[in-house]
Amino acid sequence: MTFLHNYIYYIGALGLVLIGLLIVLAKHNLIKVIIGLSILDTGINLFIIAVGYIREGTAPIFSEPGLEPGRMVDPVPQALVLTSIVIGVAILALALGLAVKLHKEYGHLDLRKIKELRW
């Protein structure tokens, strides 16, 4: 039970990273690969926020006059993850635009048949 207390967020984030990586490596439809990329991104963001958590902490916002600054969680990982989420959506939008153009050129989105993207 204490193992679960300590590591449940890490297990969730690591599981998302693994499943996202599995989708990117094993599937051959380009839209499926981009879905895997999105899940991978969410897993990494969850991991960074889980690292910044402090036990029995509160959010780093002085919304009431009586909050003491000694028990707040770390604000630096939250700033980094805010940047990371926005960059993630920019990358996804550009990737989907390229996938639409690729479908227009080849007629399908099978990575095994498109010559330049085969590996």
């Binding site: 989708i23 839209i31 879905i35 999105s38 889980a50 910044g52 993850v81 805010l82 959506v89």
Partner: protein, 79 residues
């Protein structure tokens, strides 16, 4: 409290596995949207309201909409 978090993490991982298994692309995109929504709730449990708001509005709403538009313009099934 820890029971709720465990159930949420289990549902999130099940949704991610469902996104891997489904052959219909629209269903896979909805599973990824569920992953993003539960991640937003977990951000709230980790005392990060700014990040929860960003993930809910950008990750769950706009990314799903962009995926659905792209799927409409390409094929709908995986094969």
């Amino acid at each position: 409290m820890i029971i709720i978090v465990t159930i949420l993490v289990a549902v999130m991982l099940a949704a991610a596995v469902a996104a891997f298994v489904f052959k219909e692309l629209l269903s896979a995109v909805l599973a990824a949207c569920l992953v993003s929504l539960i991640a937003s709730i977990l951000f709230l449990f980790l005392q990060a309201p700014d990040v929860a708001m960003a993930e809910a509005s950008i990750g769950a709403a706009l990314v799903t909409a962009i995926f659905v538009i792209a799927i409409k313009r390409t094929g709908k099934r995986e094969e």
